[in-house]
């Protein structure tokens, strides 16, 4: 795992709650908003299960800690998107809270429903970008969710030991988190 320069993190005392909201003006129509919300709720819960940070959806976009939106091309943050595939999304380091996804992608919440060969798993990307928003940079561990690339129709939604150790160095551990259970789960999946 790696951090951004200066190792920035959300500085409030732990445990804490961060709010998130979706930009009302920058959303996609190809996926139901309710499905997007379910996916992000699940993505946030992956991280909150390992650190003492809770995430809750806010109605007021302007005052939320984490601001999520889908954008096309140049969207005035100096990091323009490039159309289908290529760059999929980006998240900013703490405590910016900005999480942007490329609206041009074929976002999928379920590969059974979305058959496109260039479909991108929204949950995998959401988990990765939330990692940036919390303070993790890109990892060299290919299996980790913080590895920078993701192929179309690939899912990567389980936090790996590399991700967990990295984020817990920043925020400490969720008291209910059990590393041994994770190790057993990893072993089971490998057997599978």
């Amino acid at each position: 795992y790696k951090y951004f320069k200066g190792k920035p993190r959300w500085s409030r005392a732990m445990p804490t709650t961060l709010t998130y909201a979706f930009s009302p003006n920058n959303i996609i129509s190809s996926v139901n908003l309710s499905d997007i919300k379910v996916i992000f709720r699940r993505a946030f819960s992956r991280w909150s299960s390992v650190i003492p940070v809770n995430f809750t959806e806010a109605e007021d976009y302007g005052f939320s800690d984490i601001k999520i939106g889908f954008y096309n091309g140049d969207h005035d943050d100096g990091e323009p998107f490039d159309g289908v595939l290529g760059v999929l999304a980006h998240g900013f380091s703490p405590e910016s809270g900005r999480l942007h996804l490329d609206a041009a992608e074929t976002w999928a919440v379920d590969f059974e429903r979305e058959k496109s060969a260039v479909a991108i798993d929204l949950e995998s990307v959401a988990i990765h970008e939330i990692g940036h928003v919390l303070g993790l940079a890109h990892s060299s561990v290919k299996e980790s969710v913080m590895y920078p690339s993701l192929k179309p129709r690939e899912k990567k939604t389980d936090l790996k030991v590399d991700d967990i150790e990295g984020i817990q160095q920043l925020y400490g551990s969720n008291p209910n988190f059990n590393i041994e259970a994770l190790a057993q789960s990893d072993t089971s999946s490998n057997r599978g």
Partner: protein
Amino acid sequence: RTTPPATTMISTVNHHNSTWSTFGKFIDTSKGSHVSGISDLKNYMQRFGYLQVSETSINDEFNEEFEVAITRYQRKLGLTVTGKLDTETISQMTVPRCGVRDTAPPLNTHAIQH
């Protein structure tokens, strides 16, 4: 009947956007060569933090600076470190990815000398 010539296949044909899809033609290009379009690869390396040169000096020459950038890329992403544009490296470059840079840009060696 003549035997068809051997071909090199990479598994990324449908996995890229129009810019990165051209990278396949640079497989096995090596230091010292001058190939039209290498500047696109340099822009890729620059964007993700492996190369730091002024925009005006990005050209189509496969120079030492670019070789070092490739080595840094391979090391960072857990690829076999060869310093060359091998199939594994080019395949990795064509996979969709996060827009956040992978690493802080290398120090500008010219600036150090001055």
